[in-house]
Symmetry: C2
Subunit: 454 residues, 2 copies
């Protein structure tokens, strides 16, 4: 309220999202900003702040007489509203007439950009404007206010992220423990779901990436059989019951032992993630850390003869992006990519730090200066994508920095990624959650442990 002038601020909670017919919805997920301000984890809610009257109103669906038969009795709308800190103000119809009045009085209505078409249509109907215009009419002041508040995590929020990390850690340990040739990726994914469900967190913060084809960054498939000699990238995170997210990545050998080649690439990525974490502190731009880590990766690849020439020039030319065609990390909070629905430019960039057009760096989600209370991921990787290598080589791209011949031995390598969740503190930073194996020997111990049991 302090950051906004006048008018009314409209917050829409999420509705149910149908899978293949209306009565079969996906698992309900509340809008994160709605959760942040109002804490109500139910469908079809809406809230309003009247800045001029200093009033908060909550609009909730009427459960109807059949609720006790189909979904069981829940708290009353009044008690829900009370727990949100707002005044109960009826249902969506009441909101409709209130908005009608606000429009007649020509009051400013602040609302956020919408990612669910249900809510685009609800706002279109509430404000009587065309649905095509909703997102361009979203309030920039409100976006900036929400980003400024949600970006700084308080102690309770950090605790919630660490709860998500505790579940996530158990998922990762289970996947490593279970891994053996002959199983499929799906076996490991299913086991992770089971353990998360048992721990009270059946919903993932994002679809797990668990793949032996790690060179594909967001590989959504889980159909491969695990074979001796394969590396598995496991990039997955649970959502705590409060809906705060975790997001970590480990890379481990199916057979419990890294090969010499895997060991060399893994060691480079491990040094890179350590360097990245060490660099995180207030006042530094995350874009600079991204490029620091990129230089570290280039140094490592040069030591293996895969890259050559001056490191600084190679990174300036974007040569590292053949192996690291993405950004170093992103904000983390109630969303895995925190607040990305409000616009990545508002979350990760400022007027002064604009997005790079360069391949790779153009996918960097967080570039701006860091502040205490930010939680972000540090997730460098090295990926050997034969299709991308062929494309670059055919174009003769960055020939002065890349030894394409030496790359022949790595075409089937796959990829390595290591990711941690890091809190920016007053001085420096802290890796969140209990430690989970990253060193070569610790990872080998976790993955081979099982085979030593009776």
């Amino acid at each position: 309220k302090e950051q906004l002038d006048s008018g009314v601020v409209l917050f829409l909670g999420n509705t149910e999202s149908p899978v293949n017919y209306p009565a079969n919805p996906y698992p309900f997920r509340q809008d994160s900003t709605f959760l942040y301000f109002w804490g109500l984890d139910i469908a079809n809610a809406a809230a309003l702040i009247d800045l001029d009257e200093n009033l908060e109103l909550m609009f909730l669906p009427d459960p109807g007489p059949d609720e006790i038969i189909w979904s069981g009795p829940g708290p009353t709308p009044d008690s829900l509203a009370a727990s949100s800190g707002a005044r109960p103000a009826g249902s969506f119809e009441q909101l409709h007439s209130l908005m009608d009045r606000a429009m007649r009085q020509n009051r400013r209505v602040h609302f956020l950009p919408q990612y669910r078409p249900e809510n685009i249509l609800r706002i279109a109907s509430l404000l009587n404007i065309s649905w095509e215009q909703i997102n361009e009419k979203a309030s920039l002041d409100l976006i900036r206010t929400v980003v400024s508040l949600r970006s700084i995590k308080d102690v309770q929020e950090v605790q919630e992220i660490e709860k998500a990390l505790e579940i996530t850690r158990a998922m990762h340990v289970r996947a490593m423990d279970l891994s053996q040739p002959g199983l499929t990726e799906r076996d490991l994914v299913g086991a992770m779901f089971a353990i998360a469900s048992s721990m009270g967190a059946p919903n993932m913060a994002f679809p797990p990436i668990l793949t032996t084809q790690g060179q594909i960054l967001h590989n959504p498939h889980h159909g491969n059989e695990l074979q001796s000699g394969d590396l598995v990238i496991n990039d997955s995170g649970a959502e705590a019951p409060s809906h705060y997210a975790a997001d970590i990545t480990r890379t481990f050998p199916v057979s419990g032992r890294f090969s010499q080649q895997q060991r060399e690439i893994y060691a480079i990525v491990l040094r890179a993630v350590e360097k990245g974490i060490e660099a995180v502190r207030p006042g530094l731009a995350y874009r600079d850390i991204h490029f620091d880590v990129s230089r570290e990766l280039v140094e490592g690849l040069s030591s293996l003869g895969l890259m050559k020439g001056d490191t600084e020039s190679a990174v300036s030319a974007g040569a590292h992006a053949l192996f690291f065609p993405c950004g170093l990390g992103h904000m983390l909070g109630l969303d895995a990519h925190d607040m990305e629905d409000l616009g990545e430019a508002h979350v990760g960039y400022t007027q002064d730090i604009q997005r790079s057009p360069q391949f790779g760096a153009n996918r960097l989600r967080l570039a701006k200066e860091l502040h205490p209370g930010y939680v972000l991921t540090v997730e460098p990787g090295l990926y050997f994508n034969p299709l991308l290598i062929d494309r670059w080589e055919a174009q003769g791209k960055c020939r002065e920095f890349i030894d394409y011949r030496a790359l022949d031995r790595y075409r089937q390598f796959g990829g390595v990624r290591i990711e941690e969740d890091v809190l920016v503190e007053e001085e420096g930073s802290r890796v969140l959650g209990k430690p989970l194996a990253t060193s070569i020997s610790d990872v080998e111990e976790l993955t081979s442990e099982r085979r030593e049991r009776p």
Copy 2:
């Protein structure tokens, strides 16, 4: 094409559905009718039949140059179109100009009712009509045509449902096997997800209902601890990789032994489901079977002294609906409630057989005459919902048929449901899938087996 006159028929596949920001979608689920006619399981596809030109066209998204980095190389749009049997006709922009032309020529455009707001907006924009009008402008001829085709399952479709049932059977066996006091509902649900994922079917046909509070019909919560003496209702079904659904229910005692009271209620429901299955045959209206089974339930409850008076009159008055406030079953196919997105009235009812206004029977999803090739669920249950009992008793409802005093001993009973998936054959019917314990002794064996192991 034979059933429709002229014009063009527009089929929209589903888009990705965002959870909390656009880059974080729910697991993709293709529209069932799109799958049925075109077989393409990818997002953002659309197809068109030109009835007058006898032409099928497929519109597919351009994967873009970054696909090989983020999601891996897939089949080309041309090969996808070829596998669908349609001619590749470009992307959504090409569809747009084709539809513009069709509109200028005043041609009839058939489309189905839409349940995803993304597709409501896509059609609104393609046909330049207001989104509020889309569903009222859906083609009744097309709805009837699609329902007539999809209602009759051929041999391959039945096989796919039986594949879903094989996975579902494993899920149910696992839940019964695992069940013991001290675990939570979530532990069993997680284990079911894990086994389905291992078997290549990570997506359920609907959110599993697994609850000790079975009196709540669609109880979505899994937070209860299993306690000795509790009954668990497990109403869950996998979706085969082809997306055909299964949907079965078993009720079992946490502790491996039914109590005397549980045994008596269970036996009534078991007789009811057997009677329902036996009655399924071509030519009979499913509404009549619903009422047959309702009478069976009333007979059973009367034998226990919970109901009284004339059975026929009790069912006519709707007295049974205190214990069975829903319908006997629904169509099953690519959807758990097959084709429900097209309108339950078109799938389950006809001009001659209209929906009953009576409490309970008004929730019957399938009422019309059965034909060979229909697959449907038979799922009677008995539920003791204290809130509903109190409401009825306070209203003095059906006092001549219900002994409210005798019900006191059943207030904490919960519920029992047994559900099978049944194919209507030329003569009679067949329960689909391999048998899974329904008798009291078989269920007790499955649930107590585990405790006899070393």
